[in-house]
Every structure is written in structure tokens, then in C-alpha cells.
């Protein structure tokens, strides 16, 4: 009591000093965390040594002892190479899946709000059914009930002679490259850059004159003509290639494993149901006056969606859709259940072959973090462009 009365000029005791308490708490937190890490790391080292496992990452250069379907990977190749193939396969699901599920999700989201009763109800049943089922179950179902029901590899279906379809592999027309294809690729990249430059010019032109920009047409035209000219100048290095069946061996064409298509289909079906809900919510969040304004200037139903509603809806929808993209990337790990050699399965197999689990799982987590980070950076860049200035 006396202390409070004579506090003028006196400093509070140490245990009442806010700055001291704050500092002490932080030091305590850091010490606890570091202590825990040290304790666990120490255990890890001891256990690894006790089990005769390596404590570093040198094992990455040793042979895996596994085979990976649909690649020229042999059991003698190092663990590192297997992991890289795994990352590539994961990437192939994500990069193909994202555009498809965006379009599909948007279509279903719009369909849920359709004035057509039948369409709206069908979309609702789809969304409510699919999003309440575990994605793993959908993957297993698509693989077992769709892909494995295709004809066996010894007797595949060949519709139009363009495709070779079996339950092991699905192959369609592709491109075959000969020498000089690299040059053409460089030309194509140049063409793409030129197309964007022209598009930017058309946009500026449109803003200055009020004429229609037609930037997609212009861009496509520039790109196509550059690539076509390059194609003939480099001596036609790329040709169409159709899959040819010779016994059980398929040569030419472009395709993927049945398991790949199963994962892709299942994850697109599952994630699209979530995207559809987001799109629907975002469209509902666009003020009703916008629809009325679009109707007042006599836009058609499609124009209203394309130029008025969807651009505003996407502004709201993009952050949650980003989450769904990340979910897609993370859910690719479920492909392990049907034996598609993405990064998780490769890691799993390496652990099964006696390589140390802690290091491998750490690498696996790092790979997924890299995926997540890349996707969020890209989408956040897009998000910044879409947001209103001053928001």
C-alpha cells in the first residue's frame, strides 16, 4: 500500500515491469520451443544411429530399387531422380486440373442460380452429393468403377484410330518433334510475348479512341502467324503423331496412365463442387442493382454474366478459390491409394525400401510447401490485378 502512494519517481519492482515481463515471456517461449526441438532432434539422431540409418541426406544418391510405371526409370536410378519424377507427376495433375475445375466449377455455380428449374436442381444435387463425400473415396470409385472397367491392355479400344484406350493407359493424338523443335518452341514463346504486346497496344488504343479493342483476336492472330512462319522456316520440325498399337506396345501419340486420369477426374469432380459453391455465393454477393442495370441496358443473359456479374463475382471469389487450388494440390497426395507415382507414393516406396523416414518426409513436406507457395504467389498476383484500386 505504501508503495503505490510513494510511487512517484520510483520504478516498479522487476516482476511488475511490463517491459521485463514481455521480454521474459518471449525468451521463455523461444527457450521452450528450442528445447523441444533440441530434445526431439537428439532423440532422432540417437534412434537413427541405433537403427543403423543415415543421419544426413547422402542417401539421395543411392539406387531406389523401385520401378515407376510409364517412365524410363529403373531400380538403379538414385532416390533423387525418383523424387523428381514424383514431383513432375504431382505437377501434371495440378497444372491440368486447375483450369478444368475452374471452368467446371463456374459452370455448375452459374447453373445453380439458373432460372431453369431443372438445371438448378441438377446442379444442386451434384454439389450436395459430391462435396459431402471424402475425396479419397471418389478417387477409389473412379479408378475402380470407371478406369478399370475399360478394356484390358492386351485388347484395347481404338476409337477412330486416334485413341488407344485400355485400363492401363489412355493415349490420344499428340505431337512428335524432330530436330529443330527447340527453335520452334523459342519462336512460340516469342510469339506469345508478341501477342501480349499487341494485346496491350490494342487495349491502349481502345482506351484512347473508344473503338473496340478485339485484343483476343489480334493476339491470337499475331501468335498464330508467328508460329506458322516459324514452323515453315525451321523446316517443319513438328508433326502430328497418332498412337500405333503393335501387339501390346503403343508407339507415338500422347497419353497418360489410367491412374493419372482417375486422380485427375476424381479431384476435378470433387474440387469443382466446392468451387461451384464459392462461385454461387459470390454471384449472390454482387448487388442486385448490377443485374438490373445490365437488364436496363438490354444486355443478353450471357453478356450480363460475362461483362457485369462474373467480373465482380470473381473479385469476391478469388481468395476462397485459391484455397481450393491449394486443396487440389494437397489432395493429389491421395493418388497414393491407387498407385499413381506422385511424390507421396515415391516417398512411401523409398521408406518401404529402408531409406530413413524422417528425412524423406521432411523433403516431402518441403515439396508440398513449394507447391502451395507457388500457387498462392501466382494467384495473389492475379488477385492484386483484380481488386479495386484503393481497396
Amino acid at each position: 500500500m505504501t508503495a503505490t502512494q510513494t510511487s512517484a519517481g520510483k520504478r516498479p519492482p522487476l516482476w511488475r515491469n511490463v517491459r521485463f515481463i514481455r521480454g521474459a515471456l518471449q525468451v521463455l517461449a523461444v527457450v521452450i520451443v528450442l528445447g523441444a526441438i533440441w530434445f526431439l532432434g537428439n532423440n532422432l539422431r540417437n534412434e537413427l544411429v541405433a537403427k543403423n540409418l543415415p543421419t544426413n541426406f547422402d542417401f539421395l544418391g543411392q539406387p531406389t530399387g523401385v520401378t515407376i510405371a510409364d517412365s524410363n526409370f529403373n531400380p538403379g536410378s538414385p532416390v533423387r531422380a525418383a523424387l523428381i519424377i514424383g514431383i513432375k507427376n504431382t505437377f501434371l495433375i495440378v497444372i491440368v486440373g486447375i483450369p478444368i475445375l475452374t471452368v467446371l466449377g463456374t459452370l455448375i455455380g452459374v447453373a445453380r442460380l439458373s432460372t431453369n428449374w431443372l438445371v438448378a436442381k441438377a446442379a444442386m444435387v451434384y454439389v450436395e452429393t459430391i462435396r459431402n463425400i471424402p475425396p479419397l473415396l471418389i478417387i477409389l470409385f473412379v479408378f475402380n468403377a470407371v478406369i478399370l472397367q475399360l478394356p484390358p491392355p492386351r485388347d484395347p479400344a481404338t476409337p477412330l484410330d486416334w485413341f488407344v484406350i485400355s485400363n492401363l493407359k489412355i493415349t490420344g493424338p499428340g505431337f512428335a518433334a524432330s530436330s529443330g523443335a527447340g527453335v520452334l518452341l523459342a519462336v512460340a514463346v516469342l510469339g506469345l510475348i508478341a501477342a501480349f504486346v499487341v494485346g496491350a497496344w490494342r487495349t491502349r488504343y481502345s482506351e484512347q479512341t473508344g473503338q473496340h479493342h478485339h485484343r483476343v483476336l489480334w493476339g491470337l492472330g499475331v501468335f498464330t502467324s508467328i508460329v506458322l512462319i516459324g514452323y515453315f522456316i525451321t523446316g517443319r520440325p513438328v508433326s502430328m503423331s497418332f498412337p500405333v498399337l503393335d501387339g501390346r506396345v503403343i508407339t507415338g501419340g500422347f497419353g497418360g496412365l489410367g491412374a493419372y486420369f482417375a486422380v485427375l477426374m476424381a479431384l476435378v469432380i470433387y474440387t469443382a463442387s466446392h468451387v461451384a459453391e464459392i462461385v454461387r455465393g459470390s454471384i449472390l454477393a454482387v448487388p442486385r442493382g448490377q443485374t438490373e442495370a445490365a437488364n436496363a441496358i438490354a444486355l443478353s443473359g450471357f453478356q450480363r454474366l460475362r461483362y457485369v456479374i462474373l467480373p465482380q463475382a470473381y473479385r469476391i471469389a478469388l481468395p476462397p478459390i485459391l484455397n481450393q487450388y491449394l486443396n487440389l494440390a494437397k489432395n493429389t497426395s491421395l493418388a497414393i491409394a491407387i498407385g499413381f507415382a506422385e511424390i507421396t507414393l515415391v516417398t512411401f516406396q523409398a521408406i518401404g525400401n529402408g531409406y530413413p523416414a524422417p528425412q524423406l518426409i521432411l523433403l516431402l513436406m518441403a515439396a508440398y510447401l513449394l507447391f502451395s507457395l507457388t500457387i498462392s504467389i501466382l494467384v495473389n498476383l492475379l488477385n492484386r490485378r483484380l481488386q479495386l484500386v484503393g481497396n
Binding site: 514481455r22 515471456l25 518471449q26 525468451v27 517461449a29 523461444v30 520451443v33 526431439l40 532423440n43 532422432l44 540417437n46 534412434e47 537413427l48 541405433a50 439458373s114 432460372t115 431453369n116 428449374w117 431443372l118 438445371v119 441438377a122 450436395e128 452429393t129 462435396r131 459431402n132 463425400i133 471424402p134 475425396p135 479419397l136 473415396l137 477409389l140 470409385f141 475402380n144 468403377a145 472397367q149 491449394l326 494437397k330 489432395n331 497426395s333 491421395l334 497414393i336 491409394a337 507421396t344 516417398t347 512411401f348 521408406i351 523416414a357 524422417p358 518426409i361 516431402l364 513436406m365 508440398y368 510447401l369 502451395s372 507457395l373
Partner: protein, 417 residues
């Protein structure tokens, strides 16, 4: 009195109904308003007829022999059959606990309403049926595959115990009702003792759909305190605490749950001294808890951010300590706001518990898979029978919960106030 008041309201709504009605007008408006709508209707109509036709043919021709033979494997895995009575006892404990808890909540609600001088509207039993009928339907669906009458009778007993507990809950002493949070705790303890105590079956042998449910509930309950701490840590003014929390949350949110499960199954054993090895179930539960905590932390953070800063200032102005401000002013409002999001997290964990099958725990999905590998059912395309069967369970659970969360959202007025 209520009924007399309700009748005229219904009459009014009939009068307000559009004058031009009838199936033809409705079809013209909703199916054939423009030429492309007619086209869409035709295409989707054909599609729906085709789907319904295929589905009908599938349901008529489907042979559920595999489900009837393996139903116990699906529900409880390899739970020892001589101990099955313990499992039923655990079910009885659960229904009794739910009954008591429901009554306690109702009584608490009425007391609080009376204290605040508000009317209390108790939901009638029709309402409860309307909300939870899919679960009842699921139980009936499951029982329709049993081969003896015993499970049905025992289920009826369990339901009777639940109703009796609700009824007896009226006689619970008030001091008990005030501490209604203790009921689930005591119930959980009894549940565990009934199953595992006195030479019973430990959690290493908890399998089948049972383990999906246990992992979901245990995962969320254990992750909640950790997630709450992480959320508070992320909002802390102490930089060190904040950065540690952010690192933990963002790291775990960036990786898929399966990597955590792999860690639990294969790497956790390396992190603890050799003498203290846990069973697979426990290791996976730890992994799930660590993973869910990061997501719960983000959910709770959303709630904390939704509480206006004026509330904190109000707490400070009446001389509450920071801890008390958090505990009595901010957290109650924040947690109320995040209940729907928590239910969402609960649903997503419920679906994700199927992943344990990859690391070898025998859950419903795993049980369903190994049943198709049995000699008498091998390679007959029975995945098309058993996978939809398993899907029904997850669908019903998720659907009921998501509807509940939407109801809560409306009731709590989240986003309105």
C-alpha cells in the same frame, strides 16, 4: 392458443399466392421461358432420365451379399467378437450422455432466458426429427443388412436409454446442470472405461467406421485447446510468440494431412526415446491433432478478428486484466461467431479420417477395400457396391452437420450483427 394463432397465418399465405398458377404456367416460367431454356431442359431432362434409369437398374440388380457378410467388419473392424457386448455398452453410455446433455442444454437455455427476461422457445420433437432424420435413416439402413434381430433390439434399447436419459435429465440437480460441460467429459471417461477398462479392448483394436468417428471427435477435441493457444499466439503483441505461432500454422496448412499421417506412422517413432513407443492409433491421433490445430487456429483467429476492438477497451475500462478481458469479454463472442466454421472443420476432418487407411489403420474405407479381396468376392467388380455403401455413411454425417452449421449460422445471426 398457439394453434389458433397459427391457422390464420397459413390462410393468408394461400391468398397471397399468384393468381395465375398451375403446372402449365409453372412449366412455362421455369422450364421453357426461352428457346435456349427449352433446349437446356430437354438436354438435362434426357440426362436425368438416363441417370435415374441407370441408378434404378443398379439398385434393383445390386447384390448386397458382400455387405451382409462383412457388416461387422465395416462397422467395428476386427473388434474381438467375445467383447462385443462392451461396444454395445459404450453405445448405451453415448446415448445416455447425449440425452442428459441435451436436457441440460435446454434447461440452461431456459434459465438464461429467464434471467435475461426473454421468452424461451424450446424446439419441439418434430423439429429434432426434421433436423436429424438422416441419421435415423442411416441407422435403419445399417440394420437392414444385419442377419439377426439382436442388433435391432439393442439399437432400440440404446434409443430408449437416450430418451429415458433426456426425461430423467429434468430431475438432475441444478448444480449439475450449471456444470453441463462436465457431462461430455464424464461420458467420455465412462465410454473409455466401459470399452478398455478391466481387461477390455484398448484403442489399438478400435477399427471400422467406429474408428472414423472416434478419430474425428477426439481429433477436434484435442486440437481445440492447442488451436486456441496458437490463435491467441498469432494475435499476441509479443513478436517471438507471434512468429512461432505463424510459422507453425502456415507450415502445417501448406502440407497435406497425409504427410502428417506418414510422419505419425513412420517418423514419430524416431522422435521419442525407444522405450516409450505408442501404438499406431495413438501416433495417428497425435498427427491428426497437430494438423487440425493449425486449421482450428485459423478459424478461431477469424472469430477473434470479428470482435470489435471496442470490446477490449470496454473490458479495460472496467479494470479487467488482459487475461480476464480475453476470457470473459472477447473469447465468448469470438467462439460464438466461429461455431459454423468449426463445424465445417469438423466435417472436413470427418472426411479426412479416411486417409488413415493409407498408413494401415483399418477404418471403414480400408475394411471396404479388404472385403473385396476376400476369396468369395474377389475380382467381381464389387467395388461398385461397397464404395457407394461407404460413401453413404460419410455423406449422411457431413450433410447433417453442414445443415446444422447453416442453421446455427442463421440462429446466431453471424454476419447480421
Amino acid at each position: 392458443m398457439d394453434t389458433t394463432a397459427a391457422t390464420p397465418v397459413e390462410k393468408v399465405s394461400v391468398v397471397v399466392a399468384p393468381r395465375r398458377s398451375g403446372p402449365r404456367v409453372w412449366m412455362k416460367k421455369n422450364l421453357f421461358s426461352t428457346w435456349y431454356n427449352s433446349l437446356l431442359t430437354a438436354v438435362f431432362g434426357a440426362l436425368i432420365v438416363w441417370v435415374v434409369f441407370r441408378l434404378g437398374r443398379y439398385l434393383i440388380n445390386v447384390d448386397t451379399e458382400i455387405i451382409r457378410v462383412n457388416l461387422r467388419l465395416y462397422m467395428t473392424g476386427r473388434f474381438p467378437s467375445e467383447q462385443l457386448s462392451r461396444l454395445w455398452a459404450a453405445v448405451f453410455v453415448t446415448t445416455a450422455g447425449v440425452g442428459f446433455f441435451a436436457r441440460a442444454i435446454v434447461r440452461n437455455g431456459r434459465r438464461k432466458a429467464a434471467e435475461a427476461g426473454l421468452g424461451f422457445e424450446r424446439s419441439n420433437w418434430q423439429d429434432v426429427v426434421r433436423r436429424f432424420w438422416p441419421i435415423g435413416a442411416l441407422v435403419v439402413f445399417t440394420l437392414s443388412f444385419t442377419e439377426t434381430i439382436t442388433p435391432t433390439l439393442l439399437t432400440l434399447v440404446a434409443a430408449a436409454i437416450g430418451v429415458a436419459a433426456y426425461w430423467l435429465g429434468a430431475a438432475l440437480p441444478t448444480w449439475m446442470v450449471h456444470r453441463s460441460w462436465a457431462i461430455p467429459l464424464v461420458g467420455t471417461l465412462m465410454f473409455y472405461v466401459v470399452l478398455a477398462g478391466f481387461g477390455g479392448v484398448g484403442w489399438d483394436l478400435w477399427q471400422g467406421f467406429f474408428v472414423n468417428i472416434v478419430l474425428t471427435i477426439a481429433g477436434i477435441s484435442l486440437a481445440f485447446p492447442l488451436g486456441l493457444m496458437l490463435a491467441l499466439g498469432r494475435r499476441s503483441t509479443l513478436p517471438a510468440v507471434r512468429y512461432l505461432s505463424v510459422t507453425y500454422i502456415e507450415f502445417l496448412r501448406g502440407v497435406p494431412m497425409i504427410t502428417l499421417l506418414l510422419m505419425g506412422a513412420f517418423a514419430l517413432g524416431f522422435l521419442i526415446p525407444g522405450d516409450f513407443q505408442f501404438s499406431l492409433f495413438l501416433r495417428l491421433l497425435i498427427a491428426i491433432t497437430l494438423f487440425q490445430a493449425a486449421y482450428i487456429a485459423e478459424v478461431v483467429r477469424g472469430g477473434l478478428q470479428s470482435v470489435p476492438h471496442g470490446q477490449v477497451e470496454a473490458g479495460q475500462s472496467i479494470g479487467l486484466s488482459p487475461w480476464k478481458t480475453m476470457r470473459f469479454v472477447v473469447l465468448p463472442q469470438a467462439l460464438r461467431n466461429v461455431i459454423p466454421a468449426m463445424v465445417g472443420q469438423f466435417i472436413s476432418l470427418f472426411k479426412d479420417t479416411t486417409l488413415v487407411f493409407i498408413v494401415g489403420l483399418l477404418d471403414l474405407l480400408r475394411a471396404v477395400q479388404i472385403s473385396t479381396a476376400q476369396p468369395e468376392f474377389f475380382a467381381q467388380g464389387l467395388e461398385a457396391v461397397v464404395l457407394p455403401f461407404a460413401a453413404v455413411y460419410f455423406w449422411v454425417g457431413s450433410f447433417v452437420m453442414s445443415r446444422e452449421s447453416r442453421r446455427l449460422e442463421k440462429k446466431l445471426g453471424v454476419g447480421v450483427r
